[in-house]
Amino acid sequence: MIYEGKQKIWSDYQKEIPDDHYYYVRSCIRQTFFPASEAALLNITRNILGRDVFENEHHTTCGGIAYHSDTIPQETIMTIVARQFALMKKHGYENYVCSCITSFGIYIEILETWRNFPELEAKIADNLKKTCNLEFAKPKFVVHTSDLIYKLREEIAAKAKYKLVNVKTGQPLRVVEHIGCHYAKMFPSKGVGGAEYPYVLAGMIESWGGEIVDYPERRHCCGFGFRQYFIKANRGYSLSNTHKKFESMEPYEPDFIITNCPGCAYFMDRWQYVIAESQGKTYGENGHGIPVLTYEEVAGLVLGFNPWDLGLQTHQVYVEPLLDKLGIPYEPAKKFLGAKGQDIGCPALPSCLKV
């Protein structure tokens, strides 16, 4: 294919990401399992790169997990979402950035449904007035926080203290990128690179010195499945899908995995532990797992943050082998200390997965 043709096709898969001034909403799962990632996101965008990312306490869950577990009607989640958008407007913003991939898919889908069915949009505006006495509004731009970091990736690279390079070999680290399904599978035009060639994480990795690994099941779901995870009787569905991905990526020997969905990061970390403990199978080097990082954690490491400030101590697949490859110093004795340096014990060790 001629170069110009390729460029034209690629341009269809780009999205406009505003440079500044966002109303920020959090993620239920990221807050629970990766709260330090959200803290890092705000630190990087606000304090290091000088952007205006506003948060206030009044936003809530978008209800996405309740909706995709089929416990609430569509009209309910639409009205909760309308409330979130109304809070954005109330505080003078028109750019909306969310931390959760499930939420991102929900927002995009709802805006599209309102566009297709104006009478439904009018009903939701009325619901909002009746329940919250808030003025209905829609954002000019909806982006995911990974879009924002993608947008700022070169500014982060310019301030980087470390590159995604193996300090012992000088070679780029080999990275698997995993995109949460609801980022672009439903509305490919709303994600950087679409569903087929998502570039939101690959772009970060390339800018920060790493190398992306392709593998057959790259686009397969991590297996969250909402009801398929929350109910213990269904949990084999979730485990089996992660297992399928790891079996597929194993021959490519990635140094780590980066994800933009907090659920995926949790599942790909924890199911490695379960596979190791139940089957004796490990996917990393010398009996270790493959570390699974959020993009905020990777950005933070590149910028020289203390790994324990980034919450890397709360990963079940221990990250020390990766830190060694990156040449990032860390203090093992401080890994599990409390905020004031107090001793709060440490996790028991897995019996098979090497730490």
Binding site: T32, E55, I65, S69, C221, G223, R270, T314
Partner: protein
């Protein structure tokens, strides 16, 4: 076309998710659920499209509509831009509204999902909340979560969260006036009614099986028949 079909077609998700399926089976080929469960989204869409109420009722009372993980991988690959995942969501909603969900092993799990997730939304303002995510029920969360659970306040403080604190921040206490608005939204838009439908159907089912609520909940959480699985 039958009455159930007509009701389904009022659901916006079906109006957006079904545009003359050609039955190519691409959705089934890419479906994470179809590999794990005895599940064929192509067949489900075909049944809905047929408008045959008898077969639709069978779906609404059976296990198969509960196998989907709502990842929406099907939508990406469908050559006609259908969304079997959205069709499933509409079927599940109707199954719950009609009380049919309680007839199947997988469907009646809604009793727990509704109680726990909607409970989190209304009580805390979060779908997932660390104080309601215990290691005992989630051993897969690992030794590290066991430790976090034992030292929740200290760990979250170390990680820069604002657990149950005032003002903004991760895991902050959502102000009461905001929780009250969520409750009003639930009441007006049918979520409270759906919760009551599910709770009442579950209560009756437990009684029919001669189980206490606790025993019924444990059964729903743990029990899975091997007949669901797509293996020999």
């Amino acid at each position: 076309m039958g009455k159930l079909y007509d009701t389904l077609m009022k659901d916006y998700r079906l109006r957006e998710g079904l545009n003359a399926c050609i039955n190519c089976g691409t959705c089934t080929a890419v479906c994470p659920a179809a590999e794990f469960y005895r599940y064929d989204p192509r067949r489900i869409v075909d049944i809905v499209q047929s408008g045959d109420d008898e077969k639709i009722e069978e779906l609404l009372k059976g296990d198969t509509i509960w196998y989907c993980g709502e990842c929406m991988s099907c939508l990406t690959r469908c050559p006609r831009k259908n969304a079997p995942g959205l069709v499933i969501m509409a079927l599940r909603s109707l199954s719950i509204d009609l009380g049919y969900f309680i007839e199947s092993e997988k469907g009646r799990q809604q009793y727990l999902l509704s109680r726990d997730i909607c409970g989190n939304v209304l009580n805390y303002g979060y779908c997932v909340y660390p104080r309601k995510f215990d290691y005992k029920s989630h051993p897969e969360a690992g030794k590290v979560w066991e430790w976090e659970e034992q030292h929740l306040e200290e760990v979250y403080e170390r990680l820069g969260a604002n657990l149950e604190g005032s003002g903004p921040g991760a895991l902050r206490k959502i102000p009461d006036e905001d929780l009250a608005q969520l409750k009003k939204i639930f009441d007006l838009t049918g979520a409270t009614k759906r919760m009551e439908t599910v709770r009442e159907a579950g209560r009756r089912k437990a009684e029919e099986l001669g189980l206490t609520e606790e025993e019924f909940s444990a059964m729903l959480y743990e029990q899975s028949s091997p007949r669901h699985l797509n293996r020999k």
